[in-house]
């Protein structure tokens, strides 16, 4: 669980930044130069450290992680740390609000689809669970008073959509004392204040089908933006689909090419985006609007389904 040090220069001029490899991706945390910078390097280090700590608690790839060790005590309430408790509680809340479209208990099915390789060691993580079990989020019980998690059946929690967002938001708390800053983790972004030019951050949204163009550009300040697409992490077997599974069928949905969500927290943006992806363009868009976040869903023929709020964010 080390953090390999691979500092490389950021492409953004005027930024004091550091880049680490964690959570299967490159993470950049940065503070814009020009304001009060005292203690900023320590703040960047603390920001980066949250990614390591969240991954230690929540990685389903690591058999020693807190989330994997829940499997040793199926049926018992297991006291867990704050990170795992809050991540699980939020995942469960999103599962309930989305009628199970988002479901953190799909971990086992992901393994069957081939998403079982630890990116750092290459080791696979096959879990000895019976094949006929199809757990849902209802097999997960939380006790808010005792801060315990109970697995009512053997299941592997997949907190991927929540954990990275939580780490980004925690890192953001470290940088919040500075005026202008950014956090970027594998395409998930949280920005504070303005860019080095003193304008709102300009965030391009990846085009789901073309690598030489952006889908659109947003002007953002003090906001998180997360984009997921059907282009991400296709399984080793291309016929098996991409990494967003419909918990209700076990298949990858085909209706949405990409979803972008802008929200006050990265945790909400990432998890709500995942839910919207599964719900499909129309229901997904309505779901996002009901949750008070701005979003854009794009289908494979590139028809766009934005929430009403989304248009005013466009550059």
């Amino acid at each position: 669980m080390t953090t390999p040090a691979t500092a490389h220069p950021t492409p953004i001029a005027g930024l004091l930044s550091r880049t680490i490899v964690q959570m299967d991706t490159f993470i950049t945390v940065g503070i814009v130069r020009g304001g009060q910078l005292a203690g900023s390097e320590a703040a960047l280090a603390r920001a980066g450290d949250w990614f390591r700590r969240v991954e230690e608690a929540c990685s389903r790839f690591d058999p020693a992680s807190e989330v994997r060790r829940l499997l040793d005590r199926v049926g018992e309430p297991v006291p867990v740390g704050d990170i795992l408790y809050e991540a699980t509680a939020f995942a469960l809340a999103v599962a309930e609000a989305s009628g199970g479209a988002f479901d953190p208990t799909v971990g086992q099915r992901l393994e069957r689809h081939g998403f079982d390789r630890d990116y750092r060691t290459g080791a696979t993580s096959a879990t000895p669970l019976a094949d006929d079990i199809t757990p849902t989020y209802r097999d997960l019980h939380l006790d808010p008073a005792r801060r315990t998690v109970t697995l009512l059946r053997p299941l592997v929690l997949d907190l991927g959509a929540v954990a990275k967002g939580l780490a980004i938001d925690l890192a953001g708390r470290e940088l919040a004392p500075y005026r202008d800053w950014l956090i970027e983790a594998g395409g998930d972004i949280l920005v504070g204040g303005h860019n080095p030019a003193g304008a709102p951050w300009r965030v391009g949204i990846r085009h789901p089908r073309r690598d030489d163009a952006l889908l659109t550009t947003l002007h953002l300040t003090d906001a998180a933006v997360c984009t997921s697409g059907d282009y991400e992490r296709r399984a080793a077997d291309p016929a098996a689909g991409h990494h967003l599974l419909d918990p209700r069928s076990g298949d990858s949905p085909a209706a949405v090419a990409s979803v972008t969500v802008v929200a006050p927290t990265a945790m909400a943006a990432d998890a709500l985006g995942t839910a919207a992806f599964i719900l499909g363009p129309r229901r997904g868009s309505r779901f996002l609007a009901r949750q008070g976040v701005a979003g854009l869903l794009v289908v494979p023929d590139l028809t766009e389904y934005p929430t009403a709020d989304f248009e005013r964010l466009r550059a």
Binding site: A45, R53, A199, V203, R206
Partner: protein
Amino acid sequence: MSSPPTPSTSGRPAPGKGGATSPHKPKQAFANGLVALSSAAVIAVYAAGYARTSTAAEQVQAVAAVIPTSTTAATATAAATATSTPTATATIAPTSIPQSAPATGRRGAAAAQPTATATASAPAASSGPAAAATATTRTATTTAATAAFKDGTYTGTGTSRHGNIGVTVIVQGGKLTSAEITDCGTRYPCSRIATLPAQAVARQGAAVDLVSGATDSTNAYRAAVNAALAQAR
């Protein structure tokens, strides 16, 4: 691209977070269940973990290096040798890398108030070795020249869960003209990854600070390009 409120000519620092930018914020006042819940969760974890973070962070601090960008060099130089400030700024301004263009305004601002910048940023920015500051001062003129990249061919490597990606980057006329993947030890065929280089060249022209929705392969590629370009500075 509509016109952002760039304070390039006034020499004043960035506008505040006041009313001008509030339309860009998402609807936060809407204390809707899940968004409010996510904020509460972040605060709960942060409050509980605050005491523990500092020691761990200091360890990380010792390992990872913070790369100073050319802007620091320019600012430090401006601060150190106040007399040469106007010429230095003038030379830097016509940079051929679009991404660094927005910083020109900030540089101008720094030059306009040299004493303020010197006292505010010098101690913080060079909390590491003092050697860094002297080095930038000594290479004051070359810093201005290398705000763009030095011409040449460079290689770099990035890592992803699917393996390493090696790139060869060509800089001509101070500008990135080609960033080809020359080594892809990934599980994906090179043909799929090979669509990426056009993206890098396109983004050089795209006036964005960040892109949402990158994959780990694109991140590995980007890291490789950055590693290669680091040699071109």
